[in-house]
Structures are given as C-alpha cells and as structure tokens.
C-alpha cells in the first residue's frame, strides 16, 4: 500500500511539474518533450488505479502518435512560439486569480449538488474479479458492441477517403529508369555542330 502511495505522489509530482514546464519552457521542442513526460506519468497513474488498458493506450496513442505529430508540426512549421508566449509569465498571476475564482465556483456548485432521483439508479457495470480490463473490453467490443465498433470504423474510413479526395493531387512525376540511363551512349545524346565563326548558332 505504501509503495502505491509513494508512486502515486511520485507520478503526480513529476506530471504536475512537467505540465508546468510545457507552458513555461522557452523552446517549443522542449515543451513537447515535457508533454510526453506528462503523458507517461499519467499512464503510470492509470496503472496504479488498475486501469492498465487505458494506461497502455495512453502511451501508444498519445506518446506514440499524437505527441510525435506535435513534434513534427513544431519542427516543420516556422511558428515563432517565443513571440507568441512573450509576457506569458507576467500575466500568469491574473490568470491564476481567475482560475482560483472558477475553482471556488465549481467547489460551491459541487458542494450543493444533489443527484436527481431519476438518475440515482446504479448505472455502472460491476467489475468481475479476475478479469483484466483488456479482456473485459475485448469480450464486449466484438460481441455486444460490434455494431457500434464497426460503425466507428466506417466513420474513420470515410474521414480517410475524404482527406485523400480533398488533398491528393496526381502529379506527373519523372521516374528514374536506370536501364535507360545505362544504355545511353555518347552517340545517342551528344550532337556536334559546326558553328561558323562570327555567325552565331
């Protein structure tokens, strides 16, 4: 138990610190790298909470794909992040005050919260002991939710087809034909012309 608590605080602290560094770092590439660190620590927190599937998905999807995509965007687009973020830390206190007010409002709202009688029926699915998240998800994803799963797949397919239709342009590309290159001789490509003196070509 104590080990779990210790790791919880470890992951949380690193995550908060790196989340702060995401917005505070001068170099945008460093920001993205801190973002990845935050993701990895969040994955660790998911693992501690027993949601190993979510943790792994976070690493695969967010660290593996989304963050790398960010990195590409940051490195390929010439966006002057330093200029955009200038004066950010100066206005931070004002932002913190506004954030604090919103937080207090939220606490007041949640404090006086009552659940509507119609919604009080238990809606969560019970966790079957001895079944891991991945197995539990796999059991329903391809049986109970096969229709929705396939529908989501078709939505993604449509998005892909649409992106290709709207952006792909079939350009005429000159391809290298090595055999043709090798078959060239001096006679086939070089032509010697006799140019008369002072007459031009």
């Amino acid at each position: 138990m104590t080990a779990a608590v210790a790791f919880f605080y470890l992951f949380s602290m690193i995550m908060l610190a790196s989340a702060f560094m995401v917005i505070a770092a001068r170099n945008p590439v460093h920001s993205v790298l801190f973002l990845i660190l935050a993701f990895v620590n969040a994955a660790g927190l998911f693992m501690l909470a027993g949601a190993e599937f979510l943790g792994m998905i976070l690493i695969v999807v967010y660290v593996g794909a989304v963050a790398v995509l960010f990195l590409f965007v940051v490195m390929m687009l010439d966006v002057d992040f330093a200029e955009m973020k200038r004066g950010f830390l100066q206005v931070l206190p004002i932002g913190a005050i506004i954030g604090g007010i919103v937080a207090i409002e939220l606490i007041l709202v949640v404090g006086s919260w009552t659940v509507a009688p119609a919604g009080s029926a238990p809606v969560g699915s019970p966790i079957t002991p001895g079944v891991t998240n991945t197995v539990a998800l796999g059991r329903v994803l391809y049986t109970q939710y096969i229709y929705l799963f396939q529908a989501a797949g078709l939505v993604l397919l449509t998005a892909m087809v649409g992106a290709i239709v709207l952006t792909l342009r079939h350009k005429v590309v000159k391809r290298q034909v090595i055999a043709e290159q090798n078959a060239r001789t001096q006679a086939s490509v070089v032509e010697i012309k006799k140019v008369p003196f002072r007459a031009g070509v």
Binding site: A116, P117, A118, G119, A121, V123, T143, Q144, Y145, I146, Y147, L148, Q150, A151, A152, L154, V155, L157, T158, A159, V161, G162, I164, V165, L166, H170
Partner: protein, 477 residues
C-alpha cells in the same frame, strides 16, 4: 441476445452498403482514374439492391445489436426515401461531374457511405448509434460539399459546413451526455422508462441541446445559417443530395428520438418543435423572396418545408407522424425534380444558376418549363398537386391535436411562400427569352418528367404512399 446472422438479416441494406462501399473503393483503387463511370454504375446498382431488399424483406419489427439498432416499419419507410434520394443524386451527378471535370470514383463511394450513415441514423435506437450514424452521414457530406476542390465557392461551402457541423456535433454530444447522466441509459426505451415520473431538469436541458444538434442537420431556424451558402457553393447534384436524403434521415431520427425516448415529456419538447417550426416557416417564406440565385432560393425553400413538416411532429400523435411521413415523401420527389431541372440549366456548356436565366424557358424548351412550373405549383401547395396534400395532412394532424393556431400560421406563411414559387413560373412563361439551354441528357430529363408525373398523379391514386405512411406511424403507437 440474438445470433449475429439474425441481426445482419435485419440490417441487410446497411450490410450491403457497407460491404459494397469497401469493394467499390478497391475497384477504384485497382482500376485507377478511369473507373469512375463503372464505380458510379455499381453504386447505383448497390443502392437499388438495398432498396429492393427493403421492399421485399421481412416486415417484422426487431431490435438487434444489443438494442442499438431497430428495424421497424417507420425505419423501412424512411430508408426507402433516403435511398431514392441517393440513387437520383447519383443519376443526376454523372453527366454533371464529367462536364465539370471532377469525375472521380470517390464521389459515388462517399455518397454511398453517407447513405449508409443515414440508414444507420434512421434505425438508431440509442444515443451512441444516433451519434455514429450522424457523424458517418455528415463527414461524407462535408467532403462532397467541397468535392469541386479547385472552386473557391465549393471549398468555402465545405469548410463552412464542416466548422458549423462540428459545432453542432459538439452541442448534440453535450446534450446526449446530459441525458445519459440524468436518465442513466443511452437506449431510447431506457430513457423513456427513466422519465416515467416526469421531466428531470437535467434531461430537459440535455434535450434542448440534442434537438439543437438535430435541428442543424435538418437546417431549421435558428440553426439554418449554413444552408444558403452551402447550397450555393456545392456542385448542383450535391445540393440536390443535401436537399433530399440527409433531410429525410434527420427528420426521421428527430421523430424517433422524441417519440420513443421522450413520450413522457411531450409538453417540453413540443414547445421547442413548435418554435423551430414557426421560425423556419417564416424565414423560409420571407427570406427567399429577395433571392436571385435559384440554388439559394431552394435553400430557403427547404428551410421553410422542414418547418411545415415539423408542424406534423408538433402534433405528437399518430396522424402527425403519418403527416410528416407523407410530407417528406412528397417533398423528396418534388425537390429531386426541381434539382434535376436546375442541373439541366446549362448555356453553351457552362452551368448557370440565376433565376433570370430561366426567362422565357417556355419558348425555348416547353417541356422543361412545364415540368418546372408543375413542380413549383407543388412546392407552393396549390391543389391538385401533391404539395397541397402534403401540407393538408400535416396541418390536419396539428388541428386534431388542438394546435389550430400553429396550423393557421402555417397556412398563412405558405401563401407568402407561394409568391416566389409563382414568380419563377412567371419568369419562365412571360419574360423575354434568355439564351436557350443546352439539351439536357436523357437521364436528367427523365428524372424531371417522372417527378412531375408523380406529383401530378398523387391525388388520383394516393393509396400506396398514404398506406405506407399509416403503417410507418403505427411503429410508435
């Protein structure tokens, strides 16, 4: 739980379209650029096959895929309308796309995927399947709106539709999550069961957002802003598609949602539907008067017609559902006919879309002018054209439900709308002749002629549509 084969048997049209779309992508990818005509023909064939399956398939009601999908008489009726809209769109688009040089094989595939989304939407029986169907439909629509990607207006139309569509999806999801949170269920019957004791404030809140998202897809006031620009910018056959099939699906799911999930809080949603209905009728009637572009005019006209259809929904009884079903069928046929006539508007190979280009059409192409005039009379609701009976059934249901003021407002506004429909007839028959149109391809003229014939003959033999609509309405009562 049922075996998968039983589920698929009840979702056979969807299965045909899903598998067909995947195969057509393969055909297009393997055969390359030249495959566009072949893919378009195959797509028309597959859509027709799905339509035939609906007509000759089982007539039983079943809830399959763990309550996410319902196959009932209402769903089959609306699916038939959706499929007719898609098939006619593809027929109209073939010649048009070739002339505009945007004849790519992806177009029929995207129309098929969008149609698949509409069918799923029509049969949705839970909030999740509603959302997935809606997104599948809309994503493909965003792309076909800007299919003419080198055209500035088409790109603008696609972008505008996409941004506003994403906003509306967000609202819909927000509403859906509120409803789920307060009702404790995503399935429509489950929500209805949770609301037995009356409305919970959270559910009503969610319902407002849900209806806002759906109103966007129906393009009703106050979520109509995108409609004129998108209709004007998109290629004409795509506009025909927007004005027909997606509206059928959007009205169908709105009807199903309020009838199945919220029958216990009719009073709450009826206020919203009545407001949307009156506002749409008013805007559709007045804003169209000043339009010079016929596609923009049809956009406002479609907003107005959705308002008229919703009069039936506000009645919230069997007659009302029947009225909406009849209204949609007649609106679909008339709109497709009108858009076939608009697709045929070409002068020396260039497509024109101003109302003034129609001037003197009766002298240069008498039949086309006659078709267009009859369809305009129908849209205006002048007896004995079908459009009159459409409004009759919708308003009758409202009067039966004690909503006489709503029906009176509807009748008054429909006379205002008659002005701009009749003006088109006047321009065609009494104005100085503009340059003659190129002769339209046979398929386009045929669509126009068949639509006119159907609209003209409805009062002679209305039984098939009325009976089908009555059966469809029985699914809820």
């Amino acid at each position: 739980m049922y075996p998968l084969s039983f589920s698929i048997a009840h979702a056979l049209p969807e299965t045909i379209l899903a598998v067909g779309a995947l195969l057509l992508i393969l055909v297009g990818a393997i055969r390359g650029e030249k495959s566009a005509p072949l893919v378009a023909e195959l797509a028309i064939g597959l859509l027709t096959l799905a339509l035939v399956v609906i007509f000759i398939g089982a007539k039983t009601t079943a809830t399959v895929f763990d309550g996410a999908f319902i196959d009932d008489q209402f769903a089959r009726y609306m699916k038939a309308l959706v499929l007719i809209g898609s098939i006619v769109t593809l027929i109209l688009s073939r010649d048009f796309l070739r002339r505009e040089n945007i004849d790519q094989f992806e177009f029929p595939v995207l129309v098929m995927l969008s149609t698949l989304g509409m069918l799923m939407l029509t049969s949705a029986n839970s909030l999740i399947s509603l959302y997935l169907g809606l997104e599948l439909m809309s994503l493909a629509l965003y792309v076909v709106a800007s299919f003419h990607r080198d055209n500035l207006k088409a790109s603008e139309a696609g972008l505008k539709y996409f941004v506003l569509g994403a906003l509306s999806s967000g609202m819909l999801l927000y509403g859906a999550s509120l409803i789920y949170g307060y009702a404790g269920s995503v399935s429509f019957p489950g929500i209805a069961a949770a609301l037995k004791s009356g409305p919970a404030i959270g559910v009503v809140f969610g319902l407002v957002f849900l209806l806002a998202g759906l109103a966007f897809k129906m393009s009703t006031v106050p979520f109509h802003m995108w409609t004129p620009d998108v209709y004007e910018g998109a290629p004409t056959p795509v506009t025909a598609f927007f004005a027909s099939a997606p509206k059928m699906a959007a009205v169908a799911i709105t009807l199903r949602t309020v009838m199945v999930a919220f029958p216990n809080i009719t009073h709450e949603w009826r206020q919203i539907v009545m407001f949307i209905s009156v506002a749409s009728m008013a805007l559709g009637s007045f804003a169209a008067i000043g339009q010079t572009n016929i596609k923009r005019l049809m956009a406002y006209s479609s907003i107005g017609h959705m308002g008229f259809a919703l009069v039936g929904l506000a009645a919230a009884n069997a007659a009302g559902v029947e009225g909406v079903a009849i209204y949609l069928a007649i609106y679909l046929v008339t709109t497709l006919g009108v858009f076939a006539a608009i697709v045929a508007m070409r002068v020396q190979g260039r497509s024109v879309e101003n109302i003034s280009d129609l001037a003197g059409l009766s002298r240069t192409d008498g039949w086309m002018a006659f078709f267009m005039a009859m369809l305009m009379f129908s849209l205006a609701g002048i007896p004995p054209m079908a459009g009159f009976f459409a409004k009759y059934y919708a308003f009758l249901a409202a009067v039966q439900a004690g909503l006489t003021p709503l029906a009176v407002i509807g009748v008054l506004l429909s006379t205002v709308a008659a002005f701009y429909y009749l003006r088109i007839v006047k321009v065609m028959y009494f104005d100085e002749a503009a340059p003659a149109f190129d002769r339209a391809p046979f398929a386009v003229r045929a669509v126009c002629a068949v639509a006119t014939a159907l609209v003209f003959c409805f009062w002679v033999y209305p039984a098939p549509i009325v009976e089908a609509a009555t059966n469809a309405a029985r699914a809820f009562f």
